[in-house]
Symmetry: C2
Subunit: 207 residues, 2 copies
DNA sequence: ACTACCTTGTGAAGGAATTCACAAGCCCTC
DNA sequence: GAGGGCTTGTGAATTCCTTCACAAGGTAGT
């Protein structure tokens, strides 16, 4: 398959969110134009995004809401249940663990880790917090698909290396650090400091 | 000034982070190549990014670490102290308020809001949580620059509208919703659900 | 069944961002 | 102070992404 741009995948997420809203309201069909308006893009963009994966609409009519929603869930891999471990049970890790959208979309938290002995043994979103000592063993056994990295940036690369060598191929990183990983491991970084600095830039440099 | 791409601004943030690390280690100069390696980009990209704002290096030598750091702080508007209000004192809002990188980089939380009466009156990161009733009045008085929006998506647009009409020009949104605002208001959205779906896509569609 | 009207799917055009490649400039040594 | 070795700054080339524009195909009404 041709390489799909990151921006395209992000928009598919957005479209799916609207489709689910429409599904809930019982709408039968939707046009690329409606999806575009709600998603802050253009109808041509919507059609082009979808065209990478096939042909889902009916000319003259638009898209069937439930069918397109199902197709998008398939494309995004959301029909599968993903197994997630949270590494770092501090403020951010705990907030994430309790974030409802997680489980709702098929991301199941099967484990949580922290190096702080005070935290080990407590529960977080239904999972018992464990020490990192057992990490590799647990991963071999529980086969998580995704690791959420929520620890201070000083130790982020080091822990990422452990995650990678344990065999996990997808990481959502919240440490404000630029991390390196092999090409077959996908790392997405959510960097609040960077977003704030983007706002600072916008406020400083407007016309 | 020519329009600066979002991606450029994000990279400037990254460069600045490395420069501050180098500053701490007492390094005097750095080349575009070193910055590129650490930032996961190319030396040409680094030089091009900087060239939009001026000429900061010495040919044959590289960049003075403290000088470039100062220049970047200036470009990003970080020499100023920004006044931030947090709207929504739930799990995410609370985690954000306590995030250390905030104050450290000159973002000062001057207020917090929640509609839940149980939460009103408690303190969050040194600020007393207030009811939204006084929001407009408080904004007129305290003149915050940035609002952090951490409420459920159903009410996000409505609250954003209040933020906008109160006169705030920069918003960091954590609700998984596509929001619309006037062009002179900058909205950055951090959408965890979208990032997770991006990982799901990557895991599903790899070669 | 014919016509009028929509909306998709997609090559082609256009625009934006990245990478290339090299002249210009600075330092250091001899 | 001339030459060699680096590294910057930047037009030009390239690659990537978005927008345009329209033929193809479907619906609905008569």
């Amino acid at each position: 398959m041709k390489r799909i741009a990151d921006s395209t995948v992000r928009r598919l997420s957005i479209y799916l969110r609207f489709l689910e809203e429409f599904e809930g309201r019982g709408l039968a069909t939707v046009s690329s134009d409606e999806l575009a308006r709600r998603g802050g893009t253009t109808s041509a963009q919507v059609r082009k995004d979808l065209s990478f994966f096939g042909s889902f609409g009916k000319r003259g009519l638009g898209y069937s809401v439930p069918e397109l929603a199902t197709s998008l869930r398939g494309i995004l891999g959301l029909e599968k249940d993903w197994r997630v471990v949270i590494v770092g049970a501090g403020k951010i890790g705990a907030a994430l663990a309790q974030y409802g959208g997680f489980r709702q979309r098929g991301f199941h938290i099967i484990g949580a880790y922290d190096t702080n002995p005070d935290k080990v043994g407590r529960t977080l979103a239904g999972a018992t917090i464990r020490s990192m000592d057992s990490f590799e063993r647990d991963v071999a056994e529980g086969a998580p698909d995704i690791a959420v990295l929520a620890i201070p940036s000083e130790r982020a690369q080091e822990v990422l290396d452990r995650i990678v060598s344990a065999g996990i191929k997808a990481v959502l990183n919240f440490a404000p650090a630029q991390l390196t990983a092999p090409l077959d491991v996908t790392v997405k970084t959510v960097n609040m400091a960077m977003e704030l600095e983007g706002l600072s830039f916008a406020l400083t440099n407007r016309d």
